[in-house]
Amino acid sequence: MTLGFELSKVTKRFDDFTALTEVSFSIIQSEHLAIIGPSGCGKSTLLRLLAGLDAPSDGVILLGGEIISEPGRVVTPPHRRQIGMVFQDLGLWPNLTAFENVLLGLSGKKMSRQGAKARALEALAVCKIEALAKRRPALASGGQQQRIALARAIAAEPSFLFFDEPFSGLDLLTKLKLLDELAELAEKKNLTMVLVTHDPIEAITLCRAAISIDKGRVVEAGCINDLLADPKSETLKVFRDHTVRLGT
């Protein structure tokens, strides 16, 4: 059990609004984690703090035992945190083709141009979109765009992969297929996934551990099946009742 990220009493304030209050939890390597909570509870904010895109107002964040964020300061910048990220709106670069998106994503790494090209093609192949290499994101379907974003995120072979509800626009079938493939991919590449979602189905399909957030506070944390057996947060309660009614 290797230690990944650790958050200790992390608080984030925007002017006079407190988005996160004293959030503490750990992400253990190769144990996928779901961050569950209703809209506006602070999930994206939390992920941005983990990624180093923003600094906490209070508390510290550690990676492998070293401080990477402290109050008001990002100590280790995002690209040195061994992370890949798929954003809520994907954040694809619209003027570049799928291949160029992946390739430019590698330009922060020290590698030869040839090596980078090979790596980009491989990532597209892993995500099953070699055929779209020359297409711009706007001309790809929703599911294909997810895959382009995924290819860009995994190309640099990160240890952690952050998802900010990227699947919310997909139909159930496409979503489940993608999630299955993701689980396989994580296995193969030794990736730890952190999935932000308000949909417990996604969480159950992909993750073993979960934390549930409400109004900027961690309400419950632990193994996702245990949490569902005795839910404390509104989101999980509703979900449990729903699945009971459906008879699953």
Partner: protein, 511 residues
Amino acid sequence: MISCVELEQPGKWHLILSGVILALAFCPNLPLFWLLVSGTSSFVWENLGPGFASALSHSLVVCAASSAASVLIGLPAGALAGLYEFPGRRMFLWIIAIPLLVPSFLWAIGLSQLGVGLSGITGGTYAFTSLGLPLVLYVTFVSARRLTKSQTEGVRIVGGEWLVLRQAVRAVFPAAFLVGCLSGLLSLSDPGPGQILGFSDVASEILVSFSALYDFELAARQCLVLSAIVAFIALPLAILIVPGIAPRLLGKDIEPTPLTNNRTVRWLGPVFFGAIVTLTMGLPILGIILPMFSRFSWELAMSEITRTIGDTVFYAILAGLFATVLGWLLAIAVGRGRRLAQTAVIGLFLLLSLPPELGALGVIRWGTAAPAALDFFLRDRTVVGIISALRFLPIAAIIMIRGVGTTSPTSALAAAVHGIPITRYMWRVAGPQMIPFVTISTAIVALLSTASVSIALLLRPPGADTLPIAIFTVMANAPESLVATLCFFYIAGAALLLAAGCQLTRWSRFQ
């Protein structure tokens, strides 16, 4: 290395950079303000020249009347074109831009030569309405296109077509009103129509004081009084209306409401727009080219054009590019900050409404006070382009702020996660995405700065005329047919550029 995150992160640099750019744009106005603060001149009516008071009253009447007319006609027309499909809609929208691209005095020349008694204040109002109306129309049109499908369809279900139109007009009114007032304020500092249609106005007074009476102090005093009046009107407008409008610049592209087919608008649209085009453009243009039919001064016109084309293009391109670069910087600085956008647009609105003579006279003052070593800049052609650029920075900045607003904030965050250096990100991603906006901004500022004669008239080095200035200065002595031919070429050139722009957008839409 600066991280790409900074682009999307709040921070002091946003405020500082915006402040520096706005201050830079305000700089040319400083010397005259210094005159005011240092108290070397006294601002009593007797000190402003004998005809100033009546000139001012004429100007204010024309300003109010033309603003009102522009809003009254431009607002419904813009709303119609923004909500309904009708035959010729696209073509009308392009044609209506022509008055914005040609100097106002051409329109005045046209009206005066029609021989239908359009002169004096009535003629002035007519000429300035022809210029203000397209501005209001465009702003209304763009605002109406930013109403969403659900907004209009919700209203249509509740109350039918009439309510849709009423709600739309209500939604776009603040922007249209603001621009209507702006066009009025701009008319205050435009000397063209007054000189040609034979009524005294403030802008002409200033010009005469400076270039006929050689009294810089008098011109400066008059200009300051005009600026004070403009600021007095513009400031409350900006503070009351701009904060409601500015944040819309930052919004993402939305799916606009689809154009509706309506039986009445199908005939009303073309008739209304046909009338607008005939009255605001057809008549003046007819008046301009009439003398050309008696004699077509091809050779003389060509020699004037070849004499001036180089400098015209030089000023225009320099102004367009410099304004766009500064505007882009300002847009990056403003970023997605609502409050900052509001403040910046208030500043930009004030800058744009100030008379251009203020900055031009300011630079002249610097030119006389500065050591001769700076003459290479202060008395050179470059300064004309730079000052024009600062004058039209507001237009460029608003286009570029809108451009940055259409991009996704996560784009830069993704770059940060991948450790892409900011320069590379700008070059590969942010820059290319802004190309359409850079092109539009450069083109518009280039055309506007060519069309507005005040700055070049006061600042150009001897002999380095633009085509509009050549027309303006030969007007009094040259044969009518030569003036007519020159005007014709100018308008034809503007129309050609518009046609090219039209083709270009059509072509890029298929990309």
